[in-house]
């Protein structure tokens, strides 16, 4: 019913403060996504800052995960999925035919909703990316990358004595940090996180949130979350999606304390969703 009142999307009321002192990393213009005949995203335009955490919030089925998966073209794997419009990273269109998906996905890492380590050793999990991309010249270099990635993901101290044990034997929170280490190991510029804490308990969640905060200085991080508190805690920019449209985007504190749109306000105060 909402789709019918198809007024031109009310998007950004004013430029968010964060965009003034951070360069734009990802910029999307008029993105439309279709699954077969069903449109999942309508005319979405957004700028995402580098070296900051941006969060996408909104009720289930609002298109936030779909849009996230457009950024590393994971949607390519879904046969019925069509994407139109422009998505640029550092000013280069990622849907350009000259773009190599393998390279793109190495530059844009992803952490999934459910921790999905490979059923291999912890070491192999982290080493896999660098190995296929040929990032390490020698075994020693590879060891270094693995150690560094695990340290950055805050997992190294817990697993340093059992790197050859299987990754699926870790606890849920450790598995998710292993997945983050695996993503960092290929040295991406962007890390996409699709509800990374939804399968974790509050303590593991807090640990991941800390980690996201630490990683903020080096990466452009986008996190999709159902937890408004999480969005408020970890992100600097918040975008609110509803029924396939971007309703509002702004500095996180602005969106949560002074939302411009009624639907945003209703959602963050828990009136629907």
């Amino acid at each position: 019913m909402d789709q019918q009142t198809c007024s031109p999307a009310v998007v950004t009321p004013a430029e968010p403060r964060i965009m003034k002192n951070k360069p734009v990393k990802i910029s999307a213009r008029n993105v439309k996504v279709f699954y077969g005949d069903k449109q999942a995203i309508y005319d979405l335009s957004i700028d995402i800052p580098d070296r900051a955490v941006s969060s996408f919030i909104g009720p289930s089925g609002c298109g936030k995960s779909t849009f996230l998966r457009c950024i590393n073209r994971m949607n390519d794997t879904i046969e019925s999925c069509r994407v139109s419009g422009e998505i640029e990273i550092d000013g280069k269109s990622i849907y350009d035919p000259s773009i190599d998906v393998v390279e793109l996905r190495a530059r844009v890492g992803m952490v999934f909703q459910k921790p999905n380590p490979f059923p291999k050793s912890i070491y192999e999990n982290v080493a896999y990316g660098p190995r296929i991309h040929g990032l390490a010249g020698s075994r020693r270099e590879l060891d270094e990358i693995v150690t560094r990635s695990l340290k950055r993901a805050g997992l190294f101290d817990e697993v340093k004595d059992r790197l050859d044990e299987t990754g699926t034997g870790l606890s849920g929170g450790q598995q998710q940090r292993l997945c983050i280490a695996r993503a960092i190991a290929v040295d991406p510029e962007v890390i996409l996180m699709d509800e990374p804490c939804s399968a974790l308990d509050p303590i593991a969640t807090a640990r991941i949130e800390e980690l996201i905060d630490e990683l903020r200085g080096n990466y452009c991080i986008i996190i999709v979350t159902h937890s408004m508190q999480q969005a408020a805690r970890v992100s600097q920019l918040t975008a609110f999606f509803h029924l396939g449209r971007l309703i509002e985007v702004g500095d996180t504190d602005e969106v949560f304390t002074n939302p411009q749109e009624k639907r945003t306000q209703d959602y963050i105060t828990g009136r629907f969703g």
Binding site: N116, F118, Y128
Partner: protein
Amino acid sequence: MAATDAPRVPDQPRRVDWQSRAMLSRRRRRYAAEWRLKTYGLCAIVLAIGLLAVLVGSLMATGYKAFTQSMVTVEISLDPARIDRNDVFNANWRAMVREGLAAAMPGLAKSEERDYFAMFTASAHFLVRDRVVARPDLIGQTAEYTLPLSDPLDQFNKGEIRRDTPPEQRRVNDRQIAWFDALVEKGLITRPFNTGLFVNADSRFPELAGLAGAISGSFWTLLVCFLISFPTGIAAAIYLEEFAPRGKATDFIEVNINNLAAVPSVVFGLLALAVFLGVFGLPRSAPLVGGMTLALMTLPTIIIVTRNALKSVPASIREAALGIGASKHEAILHHILPLAMPTILTGTIIGLAQALGEAAPLLLIGMNAFITSPPAGIMDPATALPTQIFIWADSPERGFMARTSAAILVLLGFLIVMNAIAIFLRQRFERRW
């Protein structure tokens, strides 16, 4: 929030009387239905196990005697003067062996010799010869040789031919029985485990016929079948599952593969006869052709199993690999295929077990020939276990009856071993996500 202060509907708190008669009998009926379902299942399993027990039991009953063989042990002296060391093969083995056999029964009249020697396998001198060829130091020595009795005496020893049968209705005459008793008296007759059943190839004489040719024929055939159907099946399945665009053409292929899996095996035999033998002119009775034919039959099974195995690898593994920039083939070869492999192997072994038991297609390409030496490779003429069973079941000699059952038991043994390996692999490598 809004839901909590909704007005209460007046007739809402209707209490159900769970203890009422109607409710009680309703629950009883539901429990009874559950009990019936369980009982039907139990009955079906009892029936299945019962039928299996009848099958194996009757095979055992007729076949167990074929696992032993009546033998006679006689001393044979090999005079070096009668054996040319450079031409061991052409010495007069028949005479030397007959002298040894006759020595065990002193006072044998010339006219009785024919009946007497018929008690022992007609190939006795070949057996002695082969033993000496393998051990030339036996020349010049007098040693004990254990030789099979001929089939009628073997059957007599095993009680299949009975003493009280009128002499004209049995293949053992009274004189032979008397000699046999005398040999038993001297302790020369033994009935050890029938190793010949496993080390000999086929023979016209039941006492010498064995499964070695059929077992190695089946081995070569299955090897060819595996080498063709396993890689081809996996490659086809990977393409269909991971690369093929969804559409009419793919659906058509899929329907046809499923149909192929249900085509009667004899049809594949006819196809092989027409194409492999007729068009390509490949040799008759060769394990190569047998394996190719069985591969046609096994291929659809392997494709279907592999596709299901690939499908059952969770999408999260594929996403994890693609998400860090693995290309599609890396995701498949490094992650999806290895995880699917235990299931694929299990399915393959079960498919091969099916192929092992297939007789019909092999009959059509001539793998039911009478072949007296095991094949040394995939181009030699050979039989296979099921076709050997077919040949023996067709033979009139009494001894082949028990051997047919024994061969079936051996085939079942191989099938059980293969299926056990499949189950072991499944349990050992099965992953829980």
